[in-house]
């Protein structure tokens, strides 16, 4: 029982990271109806930026904040410079751009920082908490995820800018008619998604270590999470993230072994697409005419 509880808590910790990245995917999906395959590599690149700052002697939390800001601007610039020109292109063309972005970010990072695996510090103390059920980093990662989610919720729910972003994603034409600059809202959305991804990258790096391919598996779990929750539902993505994290850990520890863990994500993705493509919480849109 104790071992089981331990696995569940550890699963919640990584689940929070999947939830963050899944949320980033959903945010971009809502606005563009496309899944950003480069979301993980953008997070990885931001994490390397944090590593450089910390390595240059900056304390952890200032480096953390600066990285979030950096990731935000990285997202905005990518949208303005790379995505905007292909905005009205066929879906496949945009997907190719996403994949190119993934490969380019991966290679550029390898070229700048080398492919050698690096350690990444955790801001939380080394001692376990809650009577050794969970490491401080795992507990801290859950806490950071929850704070990020809360801030996002408050932003989208209660600020005029958050409302404008939701309006622009839902109905761009009507949004323009009330004077919302829809193009900039999309860029802001990319910035926010990249910033969330950056936080996820910094939280996962102490666990998986820092290397240019570190987000490959994480992104796959995030896809599974987003699909389980319903690709157009932010709250669903968060739930999906925690669920996938726990499932992965528990099944990996007691049922299928660590080697097949990633298969859990793939089975979930295929299962959801076959059985319930809208996910558990995919909204059934109520519209009267």
């Amino acid at each position: 029982m104790e071992a089981f509880l331990h696995q569940v808590l550890a699963g919640l910790a990584t689940g929070g990271i999947y939830a963050s990245l899944a949320l980033a995917l959903v945010m971009i999906y809502q606005a563009t109806h496309l899944v950003n395959f480069a979301q993980g590599e953008m997070a990885m690149f931001a994490t390397y930026f944090a590593w450089s700052l910390i390595n240059a002697g900056m304390p952890y939390w200032p480096a953390f904040l600066l990285t979030v800001v950096f990731a935000f601007f990285l997202g905005v610039v990518i949208e303005r410079v790379i995505i905007r020109p292909v905005e009205n292109s066929p879906v496949l063309a945009v997907v190719v751009v996403f994949i190119a972005l993934l490969v380019i970010l991966n290679s550029v990072t390898g070229w700048i920082f080398s492919y050698t695996i690096k350690t990444f510090p955790s801001p939380f103390p080394a001692e376990p908490i809650f009577g050794s059920y969970i490491t401080s980093h795992q507990g801290g990662a859950i806490g950071v995820t929850l704070v990020v989610l809360l801030l996002l919720y408050l932003f989208f729910r209660f600020t005029p800018l958050g409302l404008a972003m939701r309006a622009a994603a839902q109905n761009p034409e009507s949004a323009r008619l009330v004077g919302i600059r829809v193009g900039w809202m999309l860029a802001l959305g990319w910035g926010l998604a990249a910033a969330i991804g950056g936080v996820a990258g910094m939280m996962v790096a102490p666990i998986v270590f820092l290397d240019p391919n570190m987000m490959g598996g994480v992104l796959l779990y995030a896809f599974a999470a987003a699909l389980v929750g319903g690709i157009d539902n932010p709250a669903g993505a968060v739930f999906g993230g925690f669920l996938v994290g726990v499932l992965e850990n528990v099944l990996g520890a007691f049922v299928i072994g660590n080697e097949l863990k990633l298969a859990v994500a793939l089975v979930l993705i295929i299962g959801v697409l076959v059985v319930k493509p809208s996910g558990f919480f995919g909204k059934v849109l109520v519209t009267r005419v």
């Binding site: 939701r166 309006a167 839902q170 034409e173 909204k283 849109l285």
Partner: protein, 237 residues
């Protein structure tokens, strides 16, 4: 003095399909003007062209400023509110959120609060539905919401695209009463596109008849109502 809204030789096309072939019309501040015409005549496209939602050629000037070539967002900021074809409801947002979006470009936060109460005064039903998801409102309520959202801009000019579409006659009458009140009390100019020619001519001061992308007849609403061709084709008596 130039007219409040002046449209000259306006052409518009969707891809290779040309819809407007040089529309000319103008309207004075504070008046209600209606564009009449059959399906496909180019009424909706004319309104969309004014707002920069389709590619156009020709001139549009509003209160002495050129609008043609400007982005929709900037045209809205000049004080032009468009109640679009199909109502343009943000279906996943609440009624109140829809209304607040109407005032998105305004900086006078306090006045926005009192304007919210003002439109609830015109449409008490919307106040009852304040927290409700707007997609679940009835057609009539959504039309009221679209008009209210436009009013939240405190517009100088309102463009109304088929405000009577799909509504019960009683609700149409109520809506047009309110439009008249808004025009008279708040001095909001209105350009109304309608298929319901009888209602539109009752409301409007001036009318233009559009056929296949051109203005074929213009005059005061009274004159147009008496025109034999209009009476036969559009009023049906």
């Amino acid at each position: 003095m130039a007219a409040f809204l002046e449209v000259a030789k306006l052409h518009a096309a969707y891809g290779p399909t040309r819809v407007l072939h040089g529309i000319d019309f103008s309207m004075d501040e504070g008046t209600i003007t209606t564009l009449l015409g059959a399906n496909g005549a180019g009424k909706t496209t004319t309104l969309r062209a004014l707002c920069g939602m389709v590619k156009t050629q020709g001139q549009v000037s509003f209160a002495g400023e050129r609008l043609d070539g400007k982005a929709t967002e900037d045209i809205v900021r000049k004080g032009i509110a468009h109640v679009p074809d199909g109502r343009g409801t943000f279906v996943n947002l609440t009624t109140e959120e829809n209304l607040r979006l109407g005032a998105y470009t305004r900086k006078d936060r306090d006045a926005v609060e009192s304007d919210l109460e003002r439109v609830f005064g015109y449409f008490p039903r919307l106040k009852e539905r304040r927290e409700q998801q707007a997609g679940t409102l009835s057609g009539g309520e959504q039309q009221m919401l679209a008009v209210s959202r436009a009013l939240m801009l405190r517009p100088r000019l309102m463009l109304l695209d088929e405000p009577s579409f799909g509504l019960a006659p009683l609700i149409v009458r109520e809506l047009f009463e309110i439009l008249r009140t808004v025009n008279e009390k708040e001095k909001v100019s209105m350009l109304v596109v309608e298929q319901n020619a009888a209602m539109a001519l009752e409301l409007a001061d001036h009318a233009y008849l559009i056929e296949t992308g051109r203005v074929v007849l213009s005059g005061t609403a009274r004159e147009i109502k008496r025109n034999d061709a209009v009476r036969r084709s559009y009023l049906g008596y």
